[in-house]
Amino acid sequence: MGATPEESPLARLSVLLAAGVANVGLTVEAGAPSIALTCLLLVALGHYVSWRGRHRRRTRRGQVFLGVLLLGCIAYVVADLVFGVFGGALPQAKFAMLAQAVTAFDLKSRRNLFTHIWHSAVILYIGALFAWTPVYAVFVLAWALAFFGFLLFTHRRDPAHAGADNLLANLRGSVRGVAPWAACWLVLAVIVFVGLPRFAGRPTAVPLLLSIPLPEQAVPEVLPAVLPLVGAEPGAGGDQSINLRVRGRLGDEVMFRVRAPAASYWRAYTLEEYRGQSWVRVLRPSRPIPPITVDLPIADERVGEGTSLPQTFYIEHPLPAEVIASYPLRELYFPARELRLSSTGTVRAPFGLRRGVNYSAVSTVRDFSPRALRTAGSLKVVEASPTDLALPPAIPARVKRLADDLVTGRATEYDRVAAITQYLRSNYRYSLDTPRLPTGSDAVDQFLFVDHVGFCEQFASALAVLLRAEGIPSRLAVGYATGDHDNFTGSFTVKAHDAHAWVEVLFPGIGWMPFDASPGFAAEPAAQKPLRWLLSDFSPQVAMASLGTGGRVALGLGVGTVALVAVIALAILALRHKSLSPSVRVYQRSQRWLRWGRLPARVPWQTPAEHLAWLRTVSVPAARALGPLAGRVEATVYAGVDVPRAGTSLGVLVEALRHRFRVLHGGS
């Protein structure tokens, strides 16, 4: 007789390996090595304790103790989340790892092992959210191989007397012949991976936000997209102006990462007032918006139209309080109790964006083709804000003349904008080493007619000023360029030197469109349409915005889908049980009685006859009672015959079994 799967050291080692891989993966990608290492050691110790005590029955005291430990884990996470006692980073990940460490001490049955390995999948999922390089594929594959091994070892019996000495021999015996199938599986997985429909347009469901009134010192380091919590921290806002006289050297440190299906400029805010040597933000009225906002009301923008561009931001370096995202925003999921939205589409958080802050946003990708922009309405009907057209009175006349020369013969607004942009890109040099701006001189005039060299702020200022000189509303947008794109993970890594400035131009009836006059950057840097994955067009595209109270409905759809799958699975199991013949059902019931009577019940790999032989070695009377029923079950299951024997009914058998067990166990 071989060892049961619960006793298989290989199966348990597979689970331990999966847990280890998930923990290490999370540590490598998201940090928190001390807690991960501690949990890993506890998990290993727990597995050893579970292995040693696999034959011992659970005691009430032990269960209570484990429950208390789990409550302790919750207390730890709440304390960390609310008060930042343990650093406040990755509270969900810490809870998952701690809970796994606790439950590792109670792995008796195969079901426990299954639960444990799925638990490690949750940790792997958390690590995946923070994984930005293809290296994480190693962890995913390692976990999957451990899972494959677990399925293999829990299905196959180890040879009898399997112990540590025979581990390698058992391993060789188990994997013999499996390697070709494992290779087929990996190839098939790649095919499925390539063909799996992906939702490039937008998320299927809104994030689940739990509104917890956190104190001021709470650190809003949370998970994006699916399980964010809401935190709040008062913080200082960013600069209110840009001085064109100086520009600091920017380093290579990572400011934030974005997971998005398409490239875009990541805008923080705009500056509207040009003062000759600087740009200043005009304080405009702003309105409060909730942390989950669908259909953001942005002036001059038709945000409901166009393709969606979902983005998830992971802040790596302290930033001002302005929420960075592709413009214009349509939906926002931000971990704060309240944000403020200005008429320029700038969203301001109640605290500075600190390292660890994560949030999701959905922007609109508009039609940026020259054909569409040429159809923009006339400027006459636009009630543009005077600040978007204003120029300082001291601006030299040659600037205006240059603008007039550049747009001569250009009929539409787009053609005028394109002409000026192209002129700047072609006739001026981009450099961070620019001559010092003389006191009292106009920065744009100096750049256009004296220096002929500048960096993004000079180019953007020149473009905006020339456009305003022609009566075209424009403003300076500040944020970050696209950053480094990883094709595999679909993520963008944005560093400090990606900080950028460009111009937004108002096209009546369409909105504010970005233009970039800096050489070396995209001239028309509007967000591109999201990349479509193979077969993505076959995936259902849910128009979330059209669902009215979209958040709840979408959440309902998501939960409903999961529930439906679960119900179908349960229904299949129930139907399978119902389709069982009466004798099989009675047999299953008899197994419960055996368990109650502390007698060996049939394990899945045993036939009823094998179980009977096993039972006979422990209790001959019990085996004698079960004997006829076992024979009938075998006939039913294997030969499809379920005819009651003459003079023997199921009821009689059941009663005989009951009587036997009652006698065996003193009438209990």
Binding site: W118, L151, V192, L196, Y638, A639
Partner: protein, 341 residues
């Protein structure tokens, strides 16, 4: 061939669905990869067992039995009622990856088995002919997601003989076959015929001319001239229970075995047949298949009559008679027969 999903399939699909849901929501490529890896397990778990079971071929290379120790050593290779049988199999394909059993008999019944390495063990059950037609094989290897089942042909006929004892009359107690040559069949002077050599026969009995002619070892079969042939009449009533019928057969076989052990000839009347005088092999084979309701010859020609009725077995030996309860053990039967003489 039949294919059915196992319980871990819904769990796997639900897990893949949940991870896919998270993947679509967060756009994390690793979750798509994980979903693909989990989903790809399903077709592997479906195809691998199918091919494994499809490629499996089985054949029986030997049949071993243990349990009953026959008093006559020549019968040591026979299968007796209640024995534990082991069918040693040779396989083409991955037998380790398959579950084997139960056996399907020609009658349509199934017989539970227990697998030990490359052999399958089963209870021989009652006397009779055990005609194995096929074996049910199943495989869920390697992942246990689907189980493929198939009925593999495994033709094998096994004769299950009735158990017997050798009653020892008081005057010959302590003489058991094959201890004393005189107690064995072939030890007398009365020529009965030639028969094949069987383990335990004396080499001096080999008839070399016939052996040379036939190419098989043949021995001279004789009986003690002084012993008169025993004649046993077995009758199994139509309403006899299986245990009564088996007991009657065991009694008859024991009486015949007693004759064999003493080297006496015997005759067996059963139905319309009469076994050749002294042919133990044929007698045992016939007794193995004796069934209820067979019409018997006139008992007057046989001094010993064994009759299986509904409630037990009646034995009549001349002027002595005895009734045996059906649940009697073989040792008890031996004692009674010795008592009856």
């Amino acid at each position: 061939m039949r294919l059915r999903p196992r319980r871990r399939l819904p769990g796997l699909l639900v897990a893949a669905g949940v991870i896919y849901f998270f993947a679509t929501n967060s756009g994390v490529v690793w979750l798509y990869l994980l979903t693909a890896l989990l989903l790809a397990l399903v077709p592997i778990g479906l195809v691998a067992p199918l091919l494994t079971i499809q490629r499996l071929r089985l054949g029986v290379v030997a049949v071993d039995s243990h349990g009953f120790e026959p008093p006559l050593r020549r019968d040591h290779a026979r299968v007796f009622a209640g024995d534990r049988l082991a069918l040693r199999l040779e396989a083409t394909g991955n037998m380790e990856a398959c579950e084997l059993g139960p056996l399907v008999l020609a009658s349509g019944d199934t017989r539970a088995t227990h697998r030990v390495a490359s052999a399958i063990e089963l209870d021989a059950g009652r006397r009779g002919r055990l005609q194995v037609e096929a074996i049910l094989a199943s495989s869920a290897w390697p992942l246990g997601i689907f189980t493929a089942e198939r009925r593999l042909p495994l033709a094998q006929t096994i004769v299950v003989n009735p158990r017997y004892c050798v009653p020892r009359p008081a005057e010959r107690a302590g003489i058991r076959e094959p201890i004393g040559a005189s107690s064995r069949r072939g030890a007398g002077d009365q020529f009965l015929g030639l028969r094949q050599y069987q383990p335990g026969d004396s080499q001096r009995r080999i008839h070399w001319p016939t052996t040379a002619r036939t190419g098989e070892l043949m021995v001279i079969d004789t009986a003690l001239e002084s012993n008169s042939p025993g004649a046993f009449h077995l009758e199994i009533a139509a309403d006899a229970g299986p245990r009564s019928a088996d007991l009657a057969v065991e009694v008859t076989a024991s009486l015949a075995a007693g004759c064999v052990a003493e080297g006496r000839a015997f005759r067996l009347d059963l139905g319309h047949e009469r076994t050749p005088t002294g042919s133990w092999d044929e007698a045992l084979a016939r007794l193995s298949l004796a069934s209820a309701g067979e019409p018997g010859r006139s008992p007057s020609s046989s001094p010993v009559t064994i009759r299986a009725g509904r409630d037990g077995v009646d034995i009549a030996m001349g002027d002595r008679a005895r009734w045996l309860a059906p649940d009697l053990a073989l040792l008890e039967v031996q004692a009674i027969l010795e008592e009856l003489g």
